[in-house]
C-alpha cells in the first residue's frame, strides 16, 4: 500500500545517486522473486549470485557518490546516505557477495549429503536475497522508524534462515533468537518513540520529519535531556541485544553457530554492524544533547562486560562456530568501547574495526565451515592437523585466526592499536588496562584452540570423525570427490583484504572515516597526536 505513489515521487525528486538507492533496494527484492519463480537449484544459485554482484557494484557506485557529495537522499528525507551509512553499506554488499559465492559450494555439499532438500535450498536462496534487502535498508533509511522496522525484519528473515535445518538445536536456537531479539527490539522501539516524542515536542510542524535522524541531530541541543537519557538507555539495551552486547548477547552464540555457515558469516560479519550502526546514530544524538560523558560511559561499560564474557566463553569453548560467535561478541564490545573512548583516533579506529571485523570474521566462518564439513564435526577436540589434510585451508584459517586475535601484519591489529592508543589518550586507565588484560585472555583462548586444530597429526581425529565403519582410506576418498576449490575462492578474496588492510588503508576508506569522525564531532586535527605524529 505504500508502494508506487511515493516511489514515483521519490524518483522524480531524487538525484541519479538517489535513484541508485532505489535500485540497490529493488535488486535483491527482484532476486528474491525470481528465485521464488525459478524451479531448479542452478537457477537459484545463479540469480542470487547475480543479484549480489549487482548490489555490490551499485554499493560501490553509491560510496563513490558519497565520496563526491558528502550525503545523498531519496524520497525527500526518507532515505539518506552519508559517509557513516556508506561505511556500513560497503561490508553488507561485499560480504553479501562473498557469502553468495560461498553458498554455492557449501549448500551444494549440504544438498549432496542431503542435509537439505531442493525445496529448502530454494527457500534458502530466497531468504538470502530478502535478508540482503532488509540489511541494506538499515543504513539507507534516514527515518528511525523505518530503520527499526528494517532491523526487526532482519531478525525475522534470519530466523527463517536458521530454521532451514530441522535439527533440534536449530529449532531451539531460532526460538531463542526470535523471542529475545523481539523483546530487545521492543525496548528499542520504546527508545525510538521517546526520541520521536522529544523531537516532536520541540517542533510543532510536520511530525513526518520528526522521526528523521538528520532532523533529530539538528535539534539535539534543545531536546529534553531527561528524556534523551532514558531514551538512549532503552535504545542501547534494545539494539544492544541485536548487536550482541553482553549481557543481552545470550541468543547470539546459539543463532550464529546453528545457522548455515554462509548465514553465520552474514549474521556475524554484517548484521551486528547494522545494529551497532543504529546505536551509534543515537549515540551521536545523545552526544549532541547530553555531551560526551553519559552515553560514552554506558558504551564503555557494556563493551567491557561483553569482552569479558566473550573472553571467558572463548577460553573454554568446545564448538568451533560458537567460539567464533563469542569472538563477534568480543569485537562488538571493542567497537562500543572505542566509541565510548571518543576522540578522533577512537572513532577512526572503531570504524576501521567495523570494516576489519566484517572481513575477518566471515573468513573464519567459511574456513571453519569447510573444515567441519571435511571432518564431519564442529567439536574442536576432534579436528587436528588441518594443515596436512587441507594445506591451503589451514593457512587461511591461521591468517583469519591471527587477524581475529589482533596479531600483525593483519588488519584488526591496526584498528586495535588505534583503539588502545585512544584509550590511553582518553585517560580512562582502569578501563584500558582491563581491556588489555581481557584481550590477552581472548588471545590465549584462540591460540589454544586454533593451533591445536591446524597443527598436530590428523590421523586419529579423522578416524574419530569417520568412526562409523569408515577408515582413513574412506576419509581420503571422501576428500577427493568433495573438492572445496570453489569454497576457497571467497576465502582467498577475504584473506587478501585481511592482509592488504593490515599494511595500508585505501585513501577512499580514510576519507570516509575522517568524514564520519566529523559527524561524531571529531575533526582529524582535534584528535591527539595528529599533527606531530609523523617524522618530518
Amino acid at each position: 500500500m505504500v508502494a508506487e505513489v511515493p516511489v514515483l515521487a521519490g524518483i522524480a525528486a531524487s538525484s541519479p545517486a538517489g535513484l541508485l538507492i532505489i535500485t540497490i533496494l529493488l535488486t535483491p527484492a527482484a532476486g528474491g522473486i525470481l528465485v521464488f519463480l525459478s524451479r531448479n537449484k542452478r537457477a537459484a544459485e545463479l540469480v542470487t549470485l547475480v543479484s549480489a554482484t549487482l548490489v555490490l557494484i551499485q554499493a560501490m557506485a553509491l560510496v563513490a557518490a558519497v565520496l563526491a557529495e558528502k550525503q545523498i537522499s531519496a524520497f525527500g528525507q526518507l532515505f539518506y546516505l552519508d559517509s557513516f551509512g556508506a561505511l556500513v553499506l560497503l561490508p553488507i554488499a561485499g560480504i553479501g557477495f562473498v557469502s553468495a559465492l560461498y553458498s554455492i559450494n557449501y549448500m551444494g555439499k549440504q544438498y549432496d549429503r542431503n542435509m537439505v532438500d531442493a525445496k529448502q535450498l530454494q527457500r534458502y536462496y530466497q531468504a538470502i536475497n530478502i535478508f540482503l534487502l532488509t540489511m541494506l535498508l538499515v543504513p539507507l533509511s534516514n527515518n528511525l522508524g523505518i530503520m527499526w522496522v528494517a532491523i526487526e525484519a532482519t531478525t525475522l528473515v534470519s530466523v527463517l534462515l536458521i530454521m532451514l535445518y530441522t535439527k533440534e538445536s536449530a529449532i531451539e536456537a531460532s526460538w531463542k533468537y526470535l523471542i529475545i531479539a523481539t523483546v530487545g527490539l521492543s525496548f528499542a522501539l520504546f527508545g525510538v518513540v521517546f526520541f520521536y516524542y522529544a523531537n516532536s515536542t520541540v517542533q510543532a510542524t510536520n511530525t513526518q520529519s520528526a522521526m528523521n535522524w538528520t532532523d533529530l541531530v539538528a535539534h539535539a541541543k534543545i531536546l529534553d535531556p531527561n528524556i534523551v537519557k532514558v531514551a538512549f538507555v532503552f535504545v542501547l539495551i534494545g539494539l544492544g541485544t541485536k548487536a550482541g552486547l553482553a549481557p543481552m548477547h545470550s541468543w547470539l552464540p546459539d543463532a550464529h553457530s546453528e545457522a548455515p555457515t554462509p548465514v553465520s558469516a552474514l549474521l556475524s560479519g554484517v548484521l551486528l554492524n547494522c545494529a551497532t550502526y543504529g546505536i551509534l546514530r543515537y549515540h551521536i544524538v545523545a552526544i549532541g544533547s547530553l555531551g560526551q560523558s553519559f552515553s560514552s560511559m554506558l558504551l564503555v561499560v557494556l563493551g567491557i562486560v561483553s569482552v569479558g564474557i566473550a573472553a571467558a566463553s572463548i577460553y573454554f569453548q568446545k564448538d568451533m562456530k560458537r567460539m567464533l560467535a563469542y569472538s563477534s561478541v568480543e569485537h562488538m564490545g571493542i567497537i562500543s568501547i572505542a566509541m565510548g573512548f571518543g576522540g578522533f583516533l577512537a572513532i577512526y579506529g572503531a570504524l576501521l574495526h567495523i570494516i576489519n571485523h566484517s572481513i575477518a570474521k566471515p573468513l573464519m566462518f567459511f574456513a571453519s565451515g569447510t573444515a567441519s564439513q571435511r571432518y564431519g564435526t564442529k567439536a574442536m577436540a576432534n579436528i587436528r592437523g588441518i594443515i596436512q589434510t587441507m594445506p591451503v585451508l589451514g593457512v587461511l584459517l591461521l591468517i583469519g585466526a591471527f587477524a581475529i586475535a589482533g596479531m600483525p601484519p593483519f588488519n584488526i591489529f591496526v584498528s586495535e592499536f588505534l583503539i588502545l592508543s585512544s584509550g590511553f589518550a582518553s585517560g580512562q586507565y582502569l578501563a584500558i588496562s582491563i581491556v588489555i588484560g581481557l584481550l590477552i585472555l581472548v588471545f590465549a583462548g584462540f591460540m589454544r584452540h586454533i593451533v591445536r586444530m591446524v597443527f598436530g597429526s590428523p590421523v586419529e581425529s579423522l578416524k574419530m570423525s569417520y568412526s562409523e565403519g569408515g577408515s582413513l582410506m574412506e576419509a581420503s576418498r571422501l576428500e577427493k570427490n568433495q573438492s572445496y576449490k570453489l569454497a576457497i575462492i571467497p576465502m582467498l578474496i577475504l584473506a587478501a583484504f585481511v592482509v592488504i588492510l593490515g599494511f595500508y588503508i585505501p585513501q577512499q576508506l580514510h576519507t570516509l572515516a575522517v568524514n564520519v569522525s566529523e559527524i561524531f564531532g571529531q575533526t582529524s586535527s582535534s584528535g591527539i597526536g595528529q599533527n606531530h605524529g609523523g617524522v618530518t
Partner: protein, 222 residues
C-alpha cells in the same frame, strides 16, 4: 465532558490492567488468549477514544488495525497453531508461583507509575498521556515478567504480545500515533513474527513433544 473524558480514561486504563492481571493469574492457554483478546479490544477502544479526543484520522486507522490484527487475526492464528500441538498447553508449575506473581506485578505497576513521574518531571503531558503512560509501562513490565517467569512457550508469546500492546498504547498516548507508514510496518512485523513463532511452536512440539521451554536447553556452555 472533561469529566467524562477523565472517567473514560481511568476506566479504560483500569480495564487494561485487569486484562493483564487476568493473564498473570490464569494458567490455561485459552484463558490467556481470551485475556489478551479482551485487552486488545479495550486497546482498540482506547485508541479510538484518543483519536476522538485528538481528532487525528491516522489514529482511527491505527484503531481499526488494532482491532483487526490484535483482536482477530492473531488469536485466530494462535488457535490454529495450537490445534496441532502435542504436549500440554497449560502452565502448572511456573518458575514463580501465581501468588507471588500477582504481588510482583503489582509492584511493577507501582514502579511504572514512579518511573513515569521521574521521566516526565519537567515536560508537560496532556491528560491522555498522564493516564495511559503508566499503564503502558506496566503492561510492558508485566509482559516482560510473564515471559521471564513462565515455562510454557505459548505463555511467552502472550507475554510478548502484551509487551507489544504496552508499546502501542505508549506510542498512541504519548505521541498520538507514529507516522502511518511506520505504524503499518510495525504491525506487519508483529504479524509476521507471530506467524513465524507459530511455525516454530509446531516444530518445537514435534521435536521436543512438549512446549516446556525448561526442556529446551541443549545449547549452553558448561
Amino acid at each position: 465532558m472533561i469529566l467524562l473524558q477523565i472517567d473514560l480514561l481511568t476506566i479504560s486504563a483500569a480495564a487494561l490492567l485487569i486484562a493483564t492481571f487476568a493473564v498473570v493469574v490464569r494458567r490455561g492457554f485459552l484463558d490467556w488468549l481470551s485475556g489478551y483478546r479482551y485487552q486488545a479490544l479495550v486497546l482498540a477502544g482506547v485508541t479510538a477514544v484518543i483519536g476522538y479526543i485528538t481528532g487525528t484520522w491516522e489514529i482511527y486507522v491505527a484503531a481499526i488495525l488494532t482491532l483487526a490484527i490484535k483482536a482477530v487475526i492473531i488469536p485466530k492464528v494462535l488457535l490454529r497453531v495450537t490445534k496441532g500441538l502435542s504436549g500440554q498447553l497449560s502452565d502448572f508449575n511456573p518458575y514463580v508461583s501465581v501468588r507471588s506473581s500477582i504481588i510482583i506485578s503489582a509492584i511493577l505497576v507501582i514502579l511504572a507509575y514512579a518511573l513515569v513521574q521521574e521521566m516526565f518531571a519537567n515536560s508537560r503531558l496532556d491528560s491522555v498521556a498522564r493516564a495511559y503512560l503508566p499503564v503502558a509501562l506496566s503492561l510492558f513490565f508485566i509482559g516482560l515478567f510473564v515471559m521471564v517467569s513462565r515455562r510454557i512457550a505459548l505463555n511467552q508469546i502472550i507475554g510478548l504480545l502484551i509487551i507489544e500492546n504496552g508499546l502501542f498504547l505508549f506510542t498512541v498516548s504519548l505521541t498520538h500515533g507514529l507516522p502511518l507508514l511506520i505504524e503499518v510496518g510495525i504491525f506487519a512485523d508483529i504479524l509476521a513474527g507471530i506467524i513465524i513463532s507459530g511455525i516454530l511452536l509446531s516444530r518445537i512440539s514435534q521435536t521436543f513433544d512438549s512446549l516446556d521451554v525448561g526442556k529446551i536447553e541443549q545449547l549452553r556452555d558448561d
